[in-house]
Point group: D2
Chain length 396, copies 4
């Protein structure tokens, strides 16, 4: 990006961030949206030349970064892969060579302050274990970089608040990597929920389960309480939690929860295996959610309306989402199912481009840091409800 475009962009960013900040300071509690958010319009801009794109350094280059995020840069219109921050210098150099990044843009986690000297790096995408998100966000913000952070934002509301403050203080954006909020099938599901086609929304369910495997390096840190902040809940249950919110467009007011882990299973010494929780929303909608590290795979969401049922199964996969609306016409014994078929898009690329557009224009991201803070507060509420054995009132 050339200096001019940076200046113009930073002006927008400053304005956007200030607005968000003042909204925050006016109300100690993150304000709930006053009305359900509509599904966003697709972006139709043209690809920018590399020099005009937002340069993004990846912080943490594990499997998700290398298999999903880095290859997706090729499908972005506004993003340029610009650097790596890693604890493994050799791997960082190797990635630099493989993916066309200057070796000078490879840093150790303890060198993040040096990012400040790299004008070709505008932002970072933090893909480190949950417990490190705060430290890496604060370092990036201090170095003047915008931050896109993987979910969950942090392992406590306090850390999340500190991250939001660090970015606001540095006048830099903080966006959450809630990829489903950029994925076309989920966006269409939001539209259908808002459209009245299901009738009034009454009840919802969502399940996210998989088998945690301690022999897989990707799962090692996920079973460590300090690094992960919890078990299946903050890792995959958060997809159910977040989906219940964006599908209703509402914030829950009450949570009930139960936790269960198989006794003696070494995987679950520190973190929980299975959580069942129920959310109550202001409109009266109830949502039953399940999250588990201990069953065969499921990634589903359903919305039961007075007129029809929407099924998104899977809801949160990397591709091949299935969306349908079914109902039994009055007087008929036979159900009718409409399969909603729309083109799959690379959700990682769409999310990266939304982030880049927010950086360029100062627009508030669809999933700002405050969105991540809310979920961490709800996760805390779920754990408290299960621990204390009673429903917990929440005010996200």
């Amino acid at each position: 990006m050339n200096p001019e475009s940076i200046n113009r962009r930073q002006l927008f960013v400053a304005a956007g961030t200030l607005a968000a900040t003042s909204a925050l300071s006016a109300n100690a509690q993150t304000p709930a949206p006053t009305q359900p958010r509509a599904a966003p319009k697709p972006d139709e801009g043209k690809p920018l030349a590399p020099k005009d794109r937002v340069g993004i350094a990846i912080v943490g280059i594990g499997a998700y970064a290398s298999q999903q995020i880095i290859p997706s840069f090729a499908e972005t219109k506004y993003c340029r892969l610009a650097g790596f921050v890693t604890g493994d210098a050799a791997k960082g150099r190797d990635f630099a060579n493989r993916f066309g990044v200057a070796e000078a843009n490879v840093f150790g986690y303890d060198q993040m302050a040096e990012l400040a000297n790299r004008p070709d790096i505008d932002a970072v995408y933090i893909i480190t274990p949950n417990g490190l998100h705060r430290e890496h966000t604060e370092a990036a913000a201090k170095a003047g970089k915008h931050v896109l952070c993987e979910k969950p934002i942090a392992t406590s509301p306090q850390d999340a608040e500190a991250m939001i403050k660090a970015c606001a203080d540095a006048k830099r954006l903080l966006m959450m990597g809630y990829r489903c909020q950029y994925e076309p099938y989920n966006l269409r599901a939001i539209e259908i929920c808002r459209s009245g086609r299901l009738g009034r929304l009454v009840s919802m369910t969502s399940e996210h389960s998989r088998t945690a495997d301690p022999s897989d390096p990707r799962d090692t840190w996920r079973l460590n309480k300090k690094l992960a902040g919890g078990g299946s809940l903050p890792d995959i249950g958060i997809y159910s939690l977040n989906a219940m919110r964006y599908l209703t467009g509402e914030e829950p007011t009450e949570i009930q929860a139960s936790i269960s882990s198989p006794p003696g299973d070494p995987r679950f010494k520190e973190v929980e295996a299975t959580v069942h929780f129920t959310l109550r929303f202001p409109s009266g909608v109830l949502a039953n959610c399940q999250s588990s590290y201990d069953t065969a795979d499921v990634k589903r969401g359903q919305v039961f309306g007075t007129d029809a049922i929407l099924t998104l199964d899977p809801l949160s996969d990397y591709y091949r989402h299935n969306l349908s609306v079914s109902s039994k016409p009055k007087g008929s014994e036979t159900p009718v199912e409409e399969k909603i078929l729309i083109p799959e898009k690379n959700q990682f690329a769409l999310q990266l481009d939304h982030f880049a557009q927010c950086v360029r224009t100062g627009q508030t991201p669809r999933s700002p840091g405050e969105e991540g803070l809310r979920d961490v507060r709800y996760i805390e509420g779920i754990y408290r409800a299960a621990r204390e054995g009673k429903p917990v009132k929440v005010n996200g």
Copy 2:
């Protein structure tokens, strides 16, 4: 049935009933099964001649009786349609003529004592509103008839206990009309859950919803608290509740629940619309259940095991159940689904025949009155958990 066969049968009945009774009196709480019940073997007996069959009078001849139960007698091997008890004498005579029953075997609800004089009526099947089950069961037992009673057994545990006592005192059987426990797809699902094929059971979900329609005579009494005992929960939520028990073979120990009804909807002045509840079982299994009178139709159950997921959808329809087991083989990205295809059988006929065989042999029914009592206690627990806003410990 000739007198001899009655005598032999009644001998068996007495023995069976006494055994059940003593078990009950030894323990104020209905004893939980010590180990998961296996799925029953199919009955392979030959059809009996009409005179040897168990004569059954229908108490309450509404839509369910006339459309499902009465036609199913033609597919039974051990049952004979033998009479009607109804508040509408003209309709009773009409049914007698249409279905080949002597007009003398049509009674008013206030004439049930006269059943005692009809040796060709061995038993009654009670299909009246829930709030009348106790009165009709007590009348039938007093008249010396065995009782098959529609679910839920009653609108309170106290009524259920009185019904069990009335039948035990009269040395007559009391069986619950839990038709799914006699339906082949549900029985196969039980077998699969016991077989280890799903791995260890971890989590379950079940949803039962439909739109209550006050303009439909079948729904009028269902929206009346006194007659129905509650809203969607005792009517259709009980399918989820009962299924969670027979699929695990366990009794729940803790219940959480939330209730929601649309404000101002005249249908829900007396009874609730939607209930979400979570059951915890001794093995650690958690079950999320949903019950609603306020959404499009669903009748599903799922069991999430460590190795595979069983789906029964619908679980509780009158026909066309779908049963599948799906899993993602280790190392594969592609799910494999086995559709379990077995012949549909008339579950109403199978249930009637099981009842008749129990009457003939004195065998304890698969779904005795005590099974109905447990569910009513759990339903009471669900309402209390929702009302008091805290988990309730139960001991069914």
Copy 3:
């Protein structure tokens, strides 16, 4: 059956048979229906007492007879299992004892003339290898018994014509065991095709394949040309052929065909493995059919109309048929599928009862011998088209 009922019935039968016979003699070619036949109404009669039922002896007691047909008598309303004709006298006596038939009613194939002396046997159901159907039908007719005959009627049109003549001469009914024509999902499919809901019918496809297994006694005779009359085509391809006719309600006018068998496979020394054939109907509908003894299982039919597509998959299984109608509403990108859900019924019992009702009332069966003759003529046409390498005009 008492003598009076026999007399009354035979009167009807005589009238019915004469009518059919005169129609036949007036036209050397079996007359094609002048307009598409409607789907029949379900029979709603009450079960008869055993003495009033039509007594049926089973000729040939292999797997299909013992596993499907004999058990289905329990679900009939008008039929009584009345005897066995078998080459294995010991098996015959065993069956007599197992299924409650007098041992005196067990006969060898060479004793069929003795059937004439059994007034409690009104009819036979012939379930022997195809090449024996003529001999057994002629013997039964000569003994004064009505005949229900498994498909295909015979291994040549000449044999089929002789069978029709033998029954007409004896004033006895000849009905084909085309079970799909009595199965509720197929009947509903016929209704939908006639209703206009698919628009104008344009094109059809049907596939029937399975793997022939010479080590299975059920398949041994099927690979013998003399006994089977051909390979997959007369055995399972006939389901496709017959379905194309009853779904359109039309008779084909032209046939093209190709045959393929894997060289050197000992199963296919005498009979063909795979046949692909195309039928042209007077309305312009074309139907692509496949029949094979050499692939994994398929039993499907589809009807492509100008407005919607009907899928029956399986079309010809013993149970669990799936019927759906799908279309893409104008201007929509998303297909809508309606799953037609109706109760499964025992098609074997329905077919037996239709036969019994025709015997009792003299009504012409829905699938008379002439229906079987047509298919054998078409099968001959298919073989000729494949052999001569050119389309064959047919006039069924």
Copy 4:
């Protein structure tokens, strides 16, 4: 592209084209592949800088060009949208402005010779009505441009041969736009067919139908014999035809066919509505195909092997292909279905990139002009078989 890269590329191209040409001249008949072609490996190259990409001008800018092809350039790695050839100069200028192409690179159909003067245009993609493909290909080749041509290659084998010769004479590539051959689900299906997982291939079916709408400008020319060359067959039936070839990896040797069009329908004055055809392959595989402009939508292919059945439905859509393999394990009554889930990719972009790589390296395209010629010969054979009412031997 800079001059150097052009030179290097042209060298490769010359070599590749000559090889193909000599193969052609050695055998008047296009030689059939000696062994089934394997599925290609995915391309893993990095995106090139715009100047190094192959510049492609679009000839014909109707709906398919503007909605599918032009937007897909954004997802290519080796292609640059470089010009338009159109009969509507205003539309051409508008496209130039909308899609970032110099107005100087917009030409009329009669100006294609001027392409020779544009070194930034390396190739053309011809998306005009079928009857114009020859003229436009010859003009492009004469101007020294490589040609990617939409299917069908032409409306007669003679035209196709002239096109192949024109490109060979000009030492330029001719590739067919058989997009399914570049689409990942089809490639996976090819792999599975080759892998032995289905057992030996025995039988195939494929259906391609939709409703032709003369009020839609996209369909106007398709109902004109001169422009389209035929009706549904060369337009969509070609997908079935081509798929049967790439799924088996074999060339058909015999064709049977039937044609049907609704009498009096003005849409079908010049071209046919519905074609059913059967292909025989050297290995003995038979394929039943259907093609229609007169039914609801279908785009399916199935392969029946001795062990399992592969279903690709849709096979030829723009996105959302469904691929599954089903079988009934020996001794089991219940079918098992594996759904093959792989990421969707933009098949238009993949095809463009394959073309560009062939241009750059001189490699023979996966779908060369000769592949198009074969299909046009088979189409001619299908029409002849239907017209003459007898099977036609083919030697593609």
